[in-house]
Amino acid sequence: MEILFALMVGTLYGCALYLLLRRSIVKLLIGLILLGNGTNLLIFSGSGLVRGRPPLVPVDATSVPAPYADPLPQALILTAIVISFGVLVYAVALIYRTYRALATDDLDNLTSTDRLGEVPATAHVAVEVPLQPIHGSGKGG
């Protein structure tokens, strides 16, 4: 089973990297999610796999009888899952705003945002590009 876990970790990382290297900004997001999952799995398998023995203290005992799954990585991953969700949503919001302001989803068109003393040409022109009808949501305008 360890080999299979390693295989999954490798596949998730490989796929994540491939997507992170794409020019399309949306694929970047998918890559981020895969990267998070791969890392969680890596930490999980790193402490050793114990099947079906969660770290719970039985009612009639005061400590967990060995063998038990390592609780520490689980605590780490639990918060990591929630936080990577938060970061993902933040990234979506950021990308959404960028897309609205610059009207491009090609990362190669966004290079000048990072360059010394240059402002992307589109930033002057397209402050708000209406891509969707604004009154589309259930809020009813």
């Binding site: 360890e2 999954m8 999952n37 999980f44 790193g46 969660p54 203290v57 400590s63 929630v82 969707q132």
Partner: protein
């Protein structure tokens, strides 16, 4: 002592409020505070002169052995008197000089901050405290030189002064740390008690060189002297206070303070005499061919600072002359700057050739100038006269002809600078020259300071105990009792002194000819964009070349490394990881399956889950539609959750399922607002990325195998598992870790989550508000 620092810093903090309420009259308050401190320090004169010390310690970071330790001995008292005394007059002077300047609040904050820091330097007994105050004076000086922020030259000069002193400050920090390592203490008093350090140690030599570097930059020694004349961009009270009387003497103070530690070092005397002598000479040569009164005085200050360092290098005899000269110079040079400022304020001019006939234009100001010049030229009975006699006495006794020559030339230059200030009083009155009334403080302050300097020689004997106490601090010995006399009779020193005064006067008369030389060598102006004359080879040119080079290097490497292509950044990181981590992983013995401790059995459900995960992650990559990718991600997440559940992590399984659900919901919401999937990369780029991704994936798989085989210490987990119930009353160990054992981490994590939510709200809020407005 602590309370004094505290009062000053509190005054600095409330200065904006005070200036708003009192306008220019805030200066009276600042002067009053300085005066009270001056009186307090003066009241300590008798006891400190007897050789007593005062110490105060405020414990601070006790675990690091650091404390705000203060110590007041003779040397510290001398400087404290100067700082508070001249501080009082400068504060008064500012009332008339800056009037109700719109940036008055900023001026007072910086000046009071400086005063606090400068007092801190001389009182500090802890080297870290000393360093912090040292750097603070540089910061305050930066803001004060750049006070006229609308002038490009002021901004440039502020930056120059800051960079030069900050580089020296870095050297000083390392030097002090080395000193602490050698002596095992950060306390100056403890280090000084150890006596001279062994000269052979490389550590001691390095510490000496670095401390000397710090002192040389701060005290404007050659080759770092150029920042001081440029610092004359500052308002005149600042020039008088920071760049003549106090801050530039911080370097001199430091060398005097550490002289008992280093003076046995074979390099001490030659390096100090050479550095000080060179600076004294350079300053003297540069001071005469100047037009601008303040630049003139600045170069003469450079020369005086050099002389002070030279005197420190001369050992026991030098120490006495050092003390007298510090005191006299602070008085007369401070007064000279103040009077130059008054001339500028009254006439709007401060260059020698645009001024003339002031004795008729404004007689009151002219007589003030006369008093100050007589004091500065070192005529009897001034303090300068006594100091000069003592200096000459020391150098003549030393019987080193070069030192005598250097000293005399330096004194000629400095005296000539004093005489030159007299020139505006005579000669033809330039057209359009007129003077307006001056606020009383602009005259009272230079008169008071100048008169003190002028009659200082007569009262000199009264200061003999203080001079002895300072000398004792500098030499690190018990008190040698000194006699101080105003009149030594007709001696060689007197003859040389008079010769110097006359030669200097001759130079001042010949100034119109000298200034043409100065113009031809381009000495009279700050360095231009296109340097000419000596400007082409000077150290300041080197400074500019260096700064430009650093900026160019920074720009180039930023262009290279920060090229804007995300995928190149990622590729750089990944390739580095591949090389470093990959090499390490390949060398671990754990990698090979034979060393794996145990193989868990695999059942059909596992294989099914693993297969779905592998397929769906590949599907997420291959998807050509956004919805397909999201669906693949959903499947992947659920299978992961099931795997967690099967391997003893029910909490993870629950969380994963829920987050997976919410992610899918959110992506469905969000993705329709985002651009469609598009194929943007070329086939070649895709192939290249696929190869890199495959290599990275393979490395991570190997890494995962290696970590599985590597058994780390399980004590932490075991502790949690054993103590969860007895200590934390919880049976779910994972939850107990989250809310009890490592609750602080969890607090941090939910804070991150809250910040992410806040970020999302901030990013999207503008639109929703606008929509509500239009609805």
């Amino acid at each position: 002592m602590l309370i004094g620092l505290l009062v000053l810093s509190v005054l600095a903090v409330i200065a904006p409020l005070g200036v708003r309420l009192l306008r220019r009259r805030f200066g009276y308050l600042a002067a009053l505070v300085s005066l009270v401190l001056l009186v307090w320090y003066a009241s300590l004169l008798p006891s400190i002169s007897r050789g007593d010390e005062r110490r105060e310690v405020l414990s601070w970071l006790p675990t690091l052995g650091s404390a705000v330790a203060l110590r007041l001995d003779g040397l510290a008292l001398l400087f404290a008197l100067l700082i508070t005394g001249i501080g009082t007059l400068v504060a008064l002077y500012t009332v008339g000089y800056l009037e109700d300047h719109p940036r008055l609040a900023r001026f007072w904050v910086s000046l009071l901050l400086f005063q606090t820091a400068m007092l801190g330097i001389v009182l500090a007994d802890d080297m870290i405290v000393l360093f912090v105050f040292w750097e603070l004076t540089s910061v305050a000086s930066f803001f004060l030189i750049g006070f006229a922020e609308e002038r490009a030259r002021a901004r440039m000069s502020a930056q120059q002064a800051f960079l030069v002193t900050a580089v020296g400050g870095l050297g000083l920090l390392v030097g002090l740390l080395l000193l602490a390592k050698q002596t095992g203490s950060f306390r100056l008093s403890e280090i000084l008690a150890q006596g001279p350090l062994p000269a052979g140690e490389i550590l001691v030599t390095s510490a000496f060189i670095l401390v000397l570097l710090g002192a040389a930059t701060k005290s404007a020694q050659v080759p770092f002297h150029f920042w001081l004349p440029n610092a004359m961009e500052a308002p005149t009270p600042v020039s008088a206070y920071l760049h003549s009387a106090t801050m530039v003497k911080a370097g001199v103070y430091l060398l005097a303070r550490l002289s008992p530690v280093f003076s046995a070092h074979p390099w001490w005397e030659p390096s100090l005499v050479a550095l000080g002598g060179l600076t004294a000479l350079a300053g003297a040569l540069l001071t005469v061919p100047q037009r601008d009164l303040k630049r003139l005085l600045a170069y003469s200050t450079v020369s005086a600072l050099g002389l002070l360092i030279l005197l420190l290098g001369l050992g026991e005899r030098g120490a006495k002359a050092f003390t007298l000269f510090v005191l006299a110079h602070a008085l007369y040079k401070g007064a000279a700057f103040l009077v130059a400022g008054a001339i500028e304020h009254a006439t709007g001019q401060r260059t020698l050739d645009t001024l003339g006939d002031l004795r008729r234009v404004t007689p009151l100001l002219a007589s003030t100038v006369a008093i100050v010049v007589l004091a500065a030229a070192g005529l009897p009975p001034s303090a300068g006269f006594v100091a000069k006699e003592t200096i000459l006495g020391v150098t003549l006794q030393q019987r080193l002809p070069p030192v005598v020559l250097l000293t005399s030339l330096a004194l000629i230059g400095q005296t000539a600078a004093a005489w030159l200030v007299l020139r505006p009083l005579f000669g033809r009155r330039p057209a359009h020259l007129h003077a307006h009334e001056l606020h009383w403080t602009l005259l009272a302050c230079p008169i008071l300071l100048g008169t003190t300097a002028l009659v200082g020689g007569i009262v000199a004997p009264a200061f003999a105990p203080l001079v002895s106490a300072v000398t004792a601090s500098v030499l690190g010995t018990t008190l040698p009792m000194y006699e101080l006399a105003f009149w030594h009779g007709v001696t060689v020193e007197l003859g040389v002194s008079m010769l110097i005064i006359v030669t200097a006067a001759a130079l001042a008369v010949a100034w119109p000819r000298l200034i043409r030389l100065g113009d031809r060598l381009a000495l009279t102006e700050p360095l231009a964009d296109r340097p000419r004359g000596l400007g082409r080879i000077g150290f300041e040119r080197l400074y500019h070349t260096g700064v430009a080079g650093i900026v160019r290097l920074g720009t180039q490497q930023t262009r290279l490394l920060q090229n804007g292509y995300l995928r190149i950044y990622i590729t750089t990181i990944v390739v580095t990881a591949l090389l470093l981590v990959g090499a390490t992983v390949l060398r671990t013995p754990y990698l090979w399956p034979s060393s794996l401790p145990s193989w868990s059995l695999v059942d059909v459900v596992d294989i099914l889950l693993v297969l779905i995960i592998l397929v769906s992650s590949l599907a997420a990559v291959r998807a050509t539609e956004r919805l397909a990718a999201i669906a693949a991600l959903g499947a992947l997440g659920f299978c992961l959750a099931l795997l967690y559940a099967r391997f003893g992590a029910p909490d993870l399984a629950i969380t994963q399922v829920l987050v997976d659900t919410l992610t899918v919901v959110l992506l469905v919401f969000a993705f329709y607002r985002l651009p469609r999937y598009a194929r943007l990369s070329s086939t070649r780029a895709r192939f290249r990325d696929a190869v890199l991704a495959a290599a990275f994936g393979a490395m991570m798989a190997a890494f995962a195998l290696a970590t599985q085989a590597f058994r780390y210490s399980e004590r932490i987990s075991a502790y949690f598992a054993e103590q969860a119930y007895p200590l934390a009353h919880g049976r779910n160990v994972v939850n107990v870790i989250l809310v009890d054992f490592r609750a602080l981490d969890t607090l941090g994590e939910i804070t991150v989550l809250a910040l992410a939510a806040l970020g999302v709200a901030a990013l999207l809020a503008r639109r929703s508000r606008r929509r509500e407005g239009s609805a």
